[in-house]
Structures are given as structure tokens and as C-alpha cells.
Symmetry: C2
Subunit: 435 residues, 2 copies
């Protein structure tokens, strides 16, 4: 960090020689946008491509702005087609075009084949470097084959086993290859229950599988059983992190690719938009309050107490909403158990509602010495907490059904509901019973 | 799920035979607490221990309530000392005592050695099953050794290389073992830059290392360089997920171990507590409004508009706060770059403040036709958005310094600040200039 501040080129060159691409990427993301182009020049050239892959989308875009097309093309020239596809997908069209034009026939075909799979499908991250052996040869032959090959790609805990038609038969774990007598056949020691996945399956589901089963690599097999390639840990490990970031940042209207150190103006634009939406809902709430101006005019204590009901509704509903969004994202909520969950959330909100209704009733009575105000406050608290938990449960379920992302829009809709219901129930009951 | 609903024992037995422990654990977490004891009986006995390890803390506790001590002791009897330590740490004292008493001398010593490392340190998750070989033998000898051993533990991409004093020398990747001539020495093909870590290092830092470098296993080495054991992927992969859950759920006052399907009463207790804290801050805000009762009495339009300023402050501050907490947790914010970040956040809030001040000024003028009210509203908007971003930046930095967890307490403190400043600035300015 100190070397960065002074931009001591010698020190940085030495430092970067020892760092992995992911670590360099994280350093780039931790400095202001404007300094990134400069820092790029001291990254060892052989790691340029991997650093680009490891960067977040926004940071990558911001960096590429400072580079010539040739520099990008040069950097990505050694990438596999799955990483190339991500570059073409996320970089500006003219950069993507330059990358395409730099490819030979074989490379271009690989890129197009990858891009033909749906976005977020397993096919998009599939690698074609899987080592496959036939089941009817001996371990001795496999060992000789590997020695001739002279290298095994990273993240290969097992070899794929196929038949003459490249149909996937299972996997041969390196541990079994190493611990068995070389004279036995592959089919005698192979793992016939070796896992595989279809190229059209979702990356999200596969990522959960990787996490739950601690996988390092999995075979990708088409509908005829033919081995197409494999997916490895390194492409899966970030997916669930990105989804968690999506919920964390989405809840406050930020993109999960939001980049702490992106330029001020582009950050400001996105934030202005979000504040604008919230300002609209705040004006809606103000308009609702305005409907009761005559009531407020007569009993000013209502103005003092009214934010309490709305605020408690927002907090209680937010708890239910957050649990629901998390549960839906991690696959823990299904139609089979959602009824029980709804029952649980409503019961909790009933308990909360009654408890805090009694407390606010008592406190407000000591404050304003008016039992009718206290009763109205208590009643509207119960109403709003019930509506809040129903909304916290129902909004994400409904949004998921109609294809809106609850992590982004859920919070705004919920607060709008709890604000409006909070003010209407409190001021409405007051108008009915106090005037 | 259907088999679960009917509790069809035959179907469940068949189903569970094919599932990994982590999948069974996730099923257990997806059904109401009360049915878990029943389901436990159909889990294949050899997987009982692993299922307990994979369960979240709250779900594990809830399940163990339904089991006899002997059942728990039986289940955990095959666990390694790092998993045993977690059990003893998280289960009730009497269950932990029963586990201790079931261990032989060797097992007990292993458990105590693990528990002697600080919580959340690498030593707590260290496994002792690392295969180590000497550097002065041939690959042929290593191959023979492995064949005699007959098995290699999961997640072993490389063997540890040590000298006569068990001092760590590097690692021998299985891929190098397989692709080199058996007659060469280990020291000729070993990776001398093999990574290692100290047992007292933090699990969080190691988890970030695992993610960034796509590690599968790492050597644990004491201060004299002696190999103690290793840490594998499976113990690291969940740590960063739990930290993300901590921020997601902590922001609404829930525990990251909060269990969607835990009993209603225990969930209700935790939620009541959180709503209580928020009620206290809502009363504080109400008290602040109460200070201006006389002003509100005279100009009721102020009551209509006052929630706008407070709400916008909460939203804007929440964005900064969320980014800061995430940045601190993922190690992207340090003292070297925090100044730039503060400058960025304050600039953004100044831009937002001025923009939305103009908008609310115009809208409120059309609504109430009083230029002075509009000016007061606009001015207090600028003030509150500036304070909001300063607080969103400063609160987590300060909390981190004094050891309070910003993910848990940051939001409440921030909203209290933005509410109070929002109401005081708007009603205060109104009292000064409108009366």
C-alpha cells in the first residue's frame, strides 16, 4: 500500500512478481479508478489475462478504458474460451470485436460454442481441458499416458473415464490410481457414481452443489451421455459470494459489482437514481399524512407519535423480508414448507404486535395523559406489524413468481407498504375515534 | 419433500442412502424444528456424525435436544478432533462432558490440543491426516509407500515434504508425482514455494486466501517450521458465506445462525429484543419532534413534510454504511485508502443533497405555496444527507476501533442519527425562520 501511494515502480515490480492474479486484482480494486491504468503497466505480462478475469465487472470496465485495444487483445490471448466469453460479454462491443478478430478459426469456434449456451448456464464456464481415459486399459497404461503428457491441469482430483464413443462412464480418482496395483484395469477401481452435470444446468445450482459436496471438479455431459468438458472449483467459488453481495448491496440499491473505488460521478448517478425512487415513496407517505391535515391540526400529539408506528412496521417487515430473500436464494424455501413459514412469521408478528402495543400504550399514556390516543397508537401498532410480516412474506414470493428480483425491489416496496399502512391506520383510527 | 410430508420411512431410507451428509443437513434445516428428531432416526448411522458437523449451530442444538446423550456420543465417535472440538464448543455442557468421557487417552489429548488454540484460529480446524514424505527419497519410493498405505484422504492435491526433524520443506503435487520419471528424487520435482500457515493465524484471513488462490489444502507449520497438520477446503468454504450471512442478517438484528425453521418462541424472543431497541430509538425521535410541538401547532404542513428529510437521510447513510461494512469485512478498506473513500462519499452526498434539495423545494412549493417552507425543507435535506454520509463512513470505522461489530449495531446507530438530525434540522430551521 505504501509502495502504491508513492508509485515506486521498482518495489511494485518485485511485489507483483510474487502475487497471484487474484491478489493483484484485489489490489487494483482497492485503489481509486484513476490510478489503475498506471498500475497496469507494472503487472507481469503473463498474468495480465488472469488479472482481467479476476477483476469485478465494474473495475474491469474502468481499467479497460485506459488501455488500447491491442493491449486488451494481447492480455486475453492465452485465455480459455470460457474466460474469453466472459470478456466479450462484459467489455464494450468494440473491444469484443477486436478480441474476435484476433482469434484463429479454432479459437473463434470455441468462443462461439461457449456463447451459444444460455447466460448463467454451466456451459458458459465449462473448460475443455479434462483428461479422459478408457475404462478397458490398465492403470499402468494410464500412468504411462500421464508421464508422456508431462502435465496435469490444476484442479484435477480425478480423470474422466469414457468409452469408445466418448460416453461418460465415471471417474478415476488420482488417489485410487496411486494406491492400486498398476496391473488392474481402470474399470475395476473407477468410481462409477462419478457426478456429472448437463451444460444447460444453472450455475447457481451447481455452485450450491460444489459448496455442499466440497467438489473440486465435475464432468459436463450432454444428453447422449457424451463427455463435453468439466467445470472446476475456481469458476464456482465466487458465484455464491456474488449472490450474497447481491442481497447485501441490492438492499440499499447498489449493484453487487459496485466498486468501492469507481469514479465519483458514475457512482453518484446510480445513487441519485435510488434516492429518487425513495424520495417518491417518501412523498407518497407525506401525501397520505396530508390527507389527515385537519386531524393533525386539532391534535398535534399525533404528529409527534406517528413516526413510531411506521418505523416499527418497517423494522419488523424487514426481518421477515430478509429471511425470505435469503431462504429463497439458498434454496431452503420451497412450496412444501412455505406454509409453515408463513404461519411462523405471522405468529411472531402477532406476539410482537401485542407486546409492543402494550408498551407504547403505557409510555404514550404517561406522556400525553390521554387514554384514547394510547389505545389508537396500540391498535395501529398491532395492525401495522401484522401487515408488515404478511408483506415481508408475500412480497418476495410474489416477486419471484412474476420474475422481479426481490433483493433489489423488495425493500422499497415493503417500506412503502409499512409507511402507508402505518400512517393510515394511526391517523385514520385517530380521525374516527378522537375527533 | 413429499416423502418428508408423509414421513414415508421406506422412501426416506432409500433417499438418504444416496445423499451426502451436507445434503441431509440442508434437508433437516428445511423442515420445522419439531420434525427433526423423527427424521434423525432414518439417517444412515455412518453419516450421523458428519450430518451433525454440517448442521448450522442453532439447528444442531435444536436437534440434540431430541437425542439421548448416548446417541450423540455414538454419532460423533468417528469424528476428527477439529470437528469434535466444534461439537464440544457448541453443544450444551452436559453433552460435551459425555463426549469427553467417551474418548480414550489419545482422543482426549487431541481434543484438548485443538481446544487450546484460540477460537477462530487456524489451529481449531486443522486436520492431522496430512501425508508427509521426505525429500531425499525417489518418486518410486513414494509410489510404493502410497500403494502400501492403500488410501489417500480426500482433498489431497499434494503431499507434504519434510526433513528428518519434520520441518516443512514444500509440497509434492500429485500431478508432478504422476508425470515425472519414478527414478528422480522428491527434492527435484517438489514445489519449494508450497504455501503454509501458522496455527494461530485467523480463519477469516485463511478463508480469503483459499478463495483468492483457489486452494484445496494448506500445510500448518509452527514457529520452528515443524509440520503440524493441514487445513482443507471443506472447513474453509463456509466461513466467508457465514460472514456474508452475518452482514445480511445482522443488518436486521438477526443472528447469522438464525434458523428459518427454529421454534417460534425462541425466534420471537430474539426478534422482540431487536424491535425493542428500535422502539427506543423511535421514541427518541418522537421526543425530538415533541420539542417542536408549538411550531407544529402553528404550521401543520411541517408535520406532513418532516418524515421526508429523516427518511432520505436513512437511505443515503445506509448506502455508505453498507459499502463500508462490506469493504471492511472483505479487507478492501485500509487506513491507506480510507481518506479517499471519505472524500468520495462526502462528494456524492453533496451532489445528492443539492439535487434532491432542489427537487423537494420545487415539489413542496407547488404543494403548499410557501417559499419559506420550501427553503427550510431544501436546507435541512442538504444538512441531513451530509451528516448521513459522514455517519455512514465514520460509525463503522469508529465501531471497528472500539471493538463493536458494525454489522450488528451500525444500522441502529445510523438511523438514530439520521432521524434525530433530520427532525431537528427541519423543525429547528422552521422554528427559527417561519415563526
Amino acid at each position: 500500500m505504501e509502495a502504491l501511494a508513492d508509485f515506486d515502480k521498482e518495489v511494485l515490480l518485485g511485489l507483483f512478481a510474487d502475487l497471484e492474479a487474484a491478489e493483484i486484482a484485489r489490489l487494483l480494486e482497492s485503489i481509486p479508478d484513476s490510478q489503475r491504468g498506471q498500475l497496469w503497466s507494472v503487472i507481469p505480462q503473463d498474468r495480465n489475462g488472469d488479472v482481467l478475469v479476476e477483476l469485478g465487472e465494474v473495475a474491469r470496465l474502468s481499467l479497460v478504458k485506459y488501455l488500447e485495444h491491442e493491449q486488451v487483445v494481447e492480455a486475453v490471448s492465452n485465455l480459455e474460451s470460457n474466460d474469453l466469453a466472459e470478456m466479450v460479454d462484459t467489455l464494450p462491443d468494440d473491444v469484443g470485436e477486436a478480441i474476435r478478430q484476433s482469434l484463429d478459426y479454432h479459437g473463434l469456434r470455441g468462443l462461439e460454442a461457449t456463447l451459444a449456451f444460455p447466460e448463467d448456464s454451466v456451459g458458459r464456464v465449462m473448460e475443455t481441458d479434462a483428461i479422459a481415459v478408457r475404462s478397458d486399459i490398465t492403470l499402468e497404461t494410464v500412468l504411462r499416458f500421464l508421464r508422456n503428457r508431462e502435465s496435469i491441469p490444476d484442479h484435477t482430483p480425478s480423470l474422466m473415464v469414457i468409452d469408445r464413443q466418448r460416453v461418460f462412464q465415471g471417474v478415476l480418482h488420482l488417489s485410487d490410481l496411486l494406491t492400486h496395483n498398476p496391473s488392474v484395469l481402470v474399470e475395476e477401481v473407477m468410481d462409477k457414481d462419478g457426478l456429472f452435470i448437463a451444460p444447460n444446468a444453472s450455475q447457481h445450482d451447481l455452485a450450491i452443489m460444489f459448496r455442499d459436496l466440497d467438489l473440486i471438479s465435475i464432468a459436463v455431459v450432454d444428453e447422449d451421455g457424451v463427455l463435453l468438458g468439466r467445470v472446476t472449483l475456481d469458476d464456482m467459488v465466487d458465484i455464491l459470494h456474488e449472490e450474497a453481495d447481491h442481497q447485501i448491496l441490492g438492499a440499499v440499491g447498489l449493484d453487487e459489482e459496485e466498486d468501492l473505488f469507481s469514479p465519483i460521478l458514475s457512482s453518484a448517478k446510480r445513487r441519485l437514481f435510488w434516492l429518487g425512487i425513495n424520495l417518491a415513496t417518501a412523498f407518497l407517505a407525506a401525501w397520505v399524512i396530508g390527507l389527515f391535515e385537519a386531524t393533525l391540526q386539532q391534535i398535534v400529539a399525533l404528529a409527534v407519535l406517528m413516526p413510531i408506528v411506521a418505523s416499527m412496521g418497517g423494522i419488523a417487515g424487514g426481518q421477515t423480508l430478509t429471511l425470505m430473500i435469503r431462504g429463497l436464494a439458498t434454496g431452503k424455501i420451497s412450496s412444501a414448507n412455505s406454509k409453515w413459514l408463513a404461519y411462523k412469521e405471522i405468529t411472531i408478528s402477532a406476539i410482537s404486535g401485542v407486546t409492543w402495543a402494550i408498551v407504547v400504550g403505557i409510555v404514550s399514556y404517561f406522556w400525553f395523559s390521554d387514554i384514547r390516543i394510547s389505545m389508537v397508537l396500540a391498535a395501529s401498532m398491532i395492525v401495522n406489524l401484522l401487515i408488515a410480516s404478511l408483506s415481508g412474506f408475500g412480497i418476495p414470493m410474489l416477486m419471484k413468481k412474476v420474475g422481479i428480483d426481490p433483493a433489489l425491489a423488495g425493500g422499497v416496496v415493503l417500506t412503502t407498504v409499512t409507511d402507508v399502512i402505518g400512517f393510515v391506520s394511526f391517523l385514520g383510527l385517530a380521525t374516527m375515534f378522537l375527533l
